[in-house]
Symmetry: C2
Subunit: 411 residues, 2 copies
């Protein structure tokens, strides 16, 4: 007879429209295995775990209906946190690890799954190391998520496809909206992406099919040049009245200074990341001062990471699959790894799930490669769009109630 243990799962970092689909995958995988008695859900990640705040996920998600609903609910159903764990070999931090390992021991937990971005992978890495130091036999597995698509050691991240689909769809719609007047106007659309421009690149996707989209697309990977920007707009205005520009929130100038910094304070979060915003506003002023035509800025803001009413089927299917795969990896005794995607070199898109070394992932970023960006930095290449294309594929049939998408909420 196989010995049964318990498991715990948490969500961490910024919300995405697919992080709950991954949670559903974890629940599905562990339940199907028949090897886990109880699945604890940490409320607000390790922050809640340290306070003993957990829920019983097998009870909360008893059937297919509840799991399906969870899969179409945006943001972290369990809540999230941005807690940074101390160094595993740091004496002062041992109280934190003692508390976490104490909880796991008391509750007979042998499988620890954590869904998040690179900061969350840092948490998994440290827990794995701290457990090894203490000789504790628990499997720590990370499961990726982030709309930014900036994790290393994976072809792409769950959550990116749905956010990219929303951004590309919104850009098509914004272009329709901007096209109605004959007066010269510039619309600057700011898209999320602190260091990596993957999500901004998705704004250009409709161009792959000859559909109208942004005329210019600026990523944070290439230094932004004001003169060239103004020149390009003036050139486009010679043959059409409206110009639509997609820009990353993290856009920097040639010297690496944030364009949006002029409009923001220097505040940083607990991971040392600055709060960025206002890039589009700065460029709006630039156009107003240098060109003088009508200009407006649109920040898609948090709508792009929580728009679960237009999910990518590829993304949601993969998000569930990676959760299930991570669960099975934990059961098989793996630890200190992140479930990850490898894209096959086939004509039609196909991906495989593998385990990546979490040390490769934690605190690293995967940027848009230079060859995915046009030489002058004002657009992305066809190769880049071909990479993004399959990730937004297909639509999820959303369950509506009273005219609105139905959500799964843990009260």
């Amino acid at each position: 007879m196989i010995q049964k243990y318990n498991a715990v799962v948490g969500q961490s970092g910024g919300p995405t429209a697919a992080i709950n689909a991954t949670l559903s995958g974890v629940v599905r995988g562990l339940r199907e295995s028949g090897r886990v008695d109880k699945l604890f859900g940490m409320r607000n990640g390790v922050e809640g775990l340290l306070e003993g705040r957990t829920v019983d996920l097998f009870s909360l998600l008893p059937d297919e209906e509840s799991l399906k609903l969870l899969e179409q609910t945006p943001a972290a159903a369990l809540g999230s946190c941005r807690k940074r764990l101390p160094e595993p070999d740091d004496n002062e931090g041992s109280v934190v690890y003692d508390a976490i390992f104490g909880f796991l021991h008391q509750n007979n937990i042998k499988y620890f799954l954590y869904i998040g971005g690179n900061d969350s992978m840092d948490t998994v890495l440290k827990l794995d190391r701290a457990a090894r130091i203490r000789g504790i036999d628990v499997s720590f597995i990370g499961v990726p998520k982030t709309i930014d698509n900036d994790l290393c050691a994976t072809d792409h991240t769950p959550g990116y496809g749905s956010a990219a689909k929303y951004v590309a769809c919104a850009m098509k719609e914004i272009c329709r909206d901007c096209s109605v007047y004959t007066k010269k106007a510039v619309t600057i659309v700011e898209i999320m992406g602190r260091d990596a421009g993957w999500l901004t690149a998705a704004a250009a996707l409709p161009s792959l099919y000859g559909d109208e989209t942004c005329d210019l697309c600026y990523l944070p990977e290439v230094g932004f040049d004001e003169d060239s920007f103004v020149e390009k707009i003036l050139k486009i205005q010679k043959h059409k009245p409206y110009v639509v520009v997609a820009v990353s929130e993290g856009l920097v100038d040639a010297g690496g200074k944030l364009i949006g910094e002029q409009a923001q304070s220097g505040a940083v979060d607990v991971f040392g990341h600055g709060y960025f915003s206002g890039t589009a506003h700065v460029l709006e002023d630039l156009v107003r001062n240098r060109i003088g035509c009508k200009v407006r800025s649109v920040e898609i803001n948090i709508l792009q990471r929580c728009a679960a009413h237009i999910l990518s089927k590829c993304d949601i299917d993969e998000s569930v699959a990676v959760g299930r795969y991570a669960a099975l990896s934990a059961l098989s005794g793996e630890s200190g790894k992140m479930a990850s995607f490898v894209r096959r070199k086939t004509r039609d898109y196909c991906s495989d799930l593998v385990l990546a070394d979490i040390a490769e992932v934690a605190n690293n970023s995967h940027y848009v490669p230079r060859e995915y960006i046009s030489e002058d930095g004002s657009f992305v290449t066809r190769e880049c769009l071909e990479y993004i294309k399959p990730l937004i594929d297909g639509e999820v049939e959303t369950v509506f109630e009273n005219g609105l998408p139905k959500h799964f909420v843990i009260s």
Copy 2:
């Protein structure tokens, strides 16, 4: 044998997600009647008509497939304008009317349909009056549209239902997004509505079903009080960490001064309307200064008027119906009227189409009645939400191509 004439249709004012469905209704009505040879489409409303820029709509929209695609395309497919016609009895303005009536006469046009908001109804009113003065026998019929729902003499306006559905959906999603952290935070969401708060009121809709949505909802119809606002937030923060506030862009203080004015220039459009924006930013600063917790502002911006990927079926069906009804009204010789909705006093929602006197509509606004707003002005009443509820009902099956909604574009 019935004498056949030609018809012309134009779109004017700000884009909506349903104005093309109304255009489709006009095309359907006129084609089905068999009484119109050619349907001219004005590019950019009367502005394009004056320059002779028209298209042949029966040719551009030959079949059900093209009409269905048009019905799911946001913004004005024909283009729009914000041209204000001179007074009909003004001598200096006669050159404009001579040009328009000349075009109609040359092209054997007897039916003139114009889809737009109250400024566009002003255009229809003036054309009707100018034609009467000159003894010209052409039917001028207005067809309503506006996401603002602020037209008089109609129960509601096409375009409002889809925008309201998007806003309510976005609010549910934003609440999910905001709920993930335990740290106190205020999110202020700015919604369109220059003078009328109908669209902002839709943000509160999920509360009708016990679903989470904005905690506070401020409309421009009631003077905004800073102290009461701060007090209310502090009170909510006693039992939950995140507070979500919906505010109209046109929010004013007790003295009638725009809250957003501090952040905007005093520029006005050709109709004398000011450009408003920045209300949420002003309130963001207020919360930062008076409460000191984390605070963020989200402007839904143009996304709310062009989000055709989540249309209200009720809205789109009615938008087609009102276009068709307007077309038939023109054919029957009516003029100087606007097609309008009357809601039946039945338990289940049902509306009838009637003709309203356009003089009642032009340059007037229909505000949210005081009894639809809570006494302290911080939310809307159940009666208000019951009014909005049926208008967002049902979903349109959107045609996707390459993972994105397909649009109908006149190149």
